[in-house]
């Protein structure tokens, strides 16, 4: 029983929660900055670009850790549709974590804006200037941001559902700190 992994590795959990904060901040900054003309617009845009780049780097590291450490299996008694939803939503979350920063970077490149981060760091353009391409990328970046936020809300709702209703250890697998000892949990479940 002890050999079965019920938790993500500490590195994966650290990445998950750090990125959760970064991505939520990113989405709020994004919708906030495009709706304001106040002086905060300038630092918000600078943070958006810098944080987006950081998220891209973290997401790539996270992808490597996912391949390396894998993920604990979902509970055997989880209904198939929920398993499928869990699996697909995680593919979508990874795609968005990596795709959104790339779309933003490509959009700025196609707009001939310099991609300047905090600290005077310039990223190279990854696309030539083009009004049609930048429009496509802008639309993708904009609408996918709302899809991303909706997906995160569903993800959070599902996590709470596992934690509060099913009590099946799925939330604990990614909890920021181990909430209960996995061996105890297994024994307890077995004894029930």
């Amino acid at each position: 029983m002890n050999a079965i992994r019920h938790h993500f590795s500490p590195l994966q959990r650290l990445l998950h929660w750090v990125m959760a904060i970064c991505i939520l901040a990113m989405l709020f900054i994004g919708v906030g900055m495009v709706s304001t003309i106040m002086p905060k617009y300038v630092p918000l845009v600078a943070i958006h670009k810098t944080l987006g780049t950081a998220i891209l780097v973290l997401a790539l590291i996270r992808l490597v850790t996912r391949f390396y450490y894998g993920a604990p299996a979902l509970p055997a008694d989880l209904p198939e549709p929920m398993k499928l939803a869990a699996e697909l939503s995680h593919y979508a979350l990874y795609a968005l974590m990596i795709g959104m920063p790339l779309l933003g970077w490509a959009m700025l490149s196609a707009s001939a804006y310099p991609v300047e981060l905090y600290g005077g760091i310039y990223l190279p353009a990854i696309l030539p200037q083009s009004d049609s391409v930048r429009t496509l990328l802008w639309n993708a970046h904009y609408y996918l941001a709302f899809a991303f936020f909706a997906l995160i809300l569903m993800h959070a709702a599902a996590a709470l559902f596992h934690a509060l209703v099913r009590h099946d250890g799925v939330f604990e697998a990614m909890a920021p700190v181990p909430i209960r000892d996995e061996v105890t949990r297994v024994e307890y479940t077995a004894a029930e």
Binding site: G32, Y41, V45, T135
Partner: protein, 352 residues
């Protein structure tokens, strides 16, 4: 320790309520941040709506300063600015410049003699990837002290109420000096004779880390021949573009870039307030305009002359306008690039 697995129906219901509250609360916070719950918020979209003429905006064009013509050339930095800012663009050297002469109107078809405010958009690109973008106008001071005031000016100017401008001017006494310039200052018959002023204050940081509040201007090398608006009305509606095209053909045109340094206490947050004449002014270089190209196929067409695109060593000050302009220009740029089919290029295919 462990919770009993036998959840009662009540605790399950409570859990679902909690989940619902978390999701709905997050969604509400998101909607609030996006401004959907704050109809009074002055958004870039509202500013563009106020800029648009009654017939609607000219699709595919800049929402303001819509009439313009592209130029390319060089910025010859003499190195004097390096004492004020560590930006590489102010180190001695010659750097590519791209820009746009323009008229302060949302109508790209406006007759040149009808537009009081003329502008220049400029992008200078030193070889290290840094960029300095600026957009300047020929007025010596700006019309209003705040972006909110600018919105009110646009609403008043577009109002059907004949008293709207009078009411606005009474509520905005700072408008008087711009109003006096617009009414009394001589006109010129050429972009080449116009002085362009940045008006907004920025902070330069020098190599030692010291900050300097500055404003900048472009002073024409061409001899200024004052004319009246009535003289200009007799000319072709596009005389400015025709004239500058002709003039550059017979030789490059020059402007001296000057940077004026504020004394402590000079107003940096209010572009309606000129600084006293005796302030230290440094000539940092020369803009040389070598070639004119029409906007439809020109290199300035898809450049947003966003005044917050600044190299390291320059940054925005407490002047609220650059941020507001950046936000509104970005929205204008999003719209017009998406409307490119409404402003066709005359040469087929993507430009090089």
């Amino acid at each position: 320790m462990l919770q009993p697995r036998s959840s009662t129906a009540r605790s399950v219901l409570g859990s679902f309520v909690l989940i619902g509250v978390v999701v709905a609360g997050s969604a509400a916070a998101f909607a609030y941040t996006a401004g959907w719950l704050s109809p009074e918020r002055l958004t870039p979209w509202k500013m563009l709506q106020a800029l648009a003429p009654p017939s609607g905006p000219a699709l595919g064009h800049r929402r303001n300063h819509a009439k313009g013509i592209c130029f390319t050339g060089v910025f010859e930095s003499n190195g004097n600015g390096a004492a004020l800012s560590r930006a590489s663009v102010l180190a001695a050297g010659q750097y590519p410049a791209l820009g746009r002469f323009n008229l302060g109107t949302p109508n790209p078809e406006a007759a040149d003699a009808t537009v009081r405010v003329r502008g220049i958009g400029l992008r200078i690109t030193p070889p290290d990837g840094q960029e300095w973008r600026t957009a300047m106008i020929n007025a010596p001071v700006f019309a209003v002290s705040t972006p909110e005031g600018f919105h009110e000016l646009l609403l008043a100017a577009g109002s059907k109420d004949p008293n709207a401008m009078k009411v606005f001017a009474e509520a905005h006494p700072e408008f008087a000096s711009f109003g006096a310039w617009a009414k009394n200052a001589p006109w010129t018959g050429s972009y080449a004779e116009d002085r362009f002023n940045g008006l907004n204050s920025f902070i330069f940081t020098d190599g030692s880390g010291a900050d300097h509040a500055v404003r900048w201007s472009l002073l024409p090398a061409a001899q200024v021949v004052p004319v009246t608006q009535d003289d200009l009305k007799k000319l072709d509606p596009d005389f400015l573009e025709q004239e500058i095209t002709q003039r550059v053909r017979s030789g490059p045109l020059r402007w001296t870039m000057t940077v004026t340094v504020a004394n402590p206490g000079d107003p940096t947050a209010d572009p309606t307030k000129a600084w006293p004449e005796d302030r230290r002014t440094v000539e940092v270089g020369t803009l040389v305009v070598q070639r004119i190209e029409g906007e439809a196929d020109g290199p300035c067409r898809d450049i947003n002359f966003d005044p917050t695109v600044l190299p390291p060593g320059m940054r925005t000050s407490d002047d609220p306008f650059p941020a507001a302009r950046s936000s509104v220009y970005a929205k204008s740029y999003d719209l017009r690039t998406a409307e490119a089919k409404d402003y066709p290029r005359t040469v087929a295919g993507p430009k090089p």
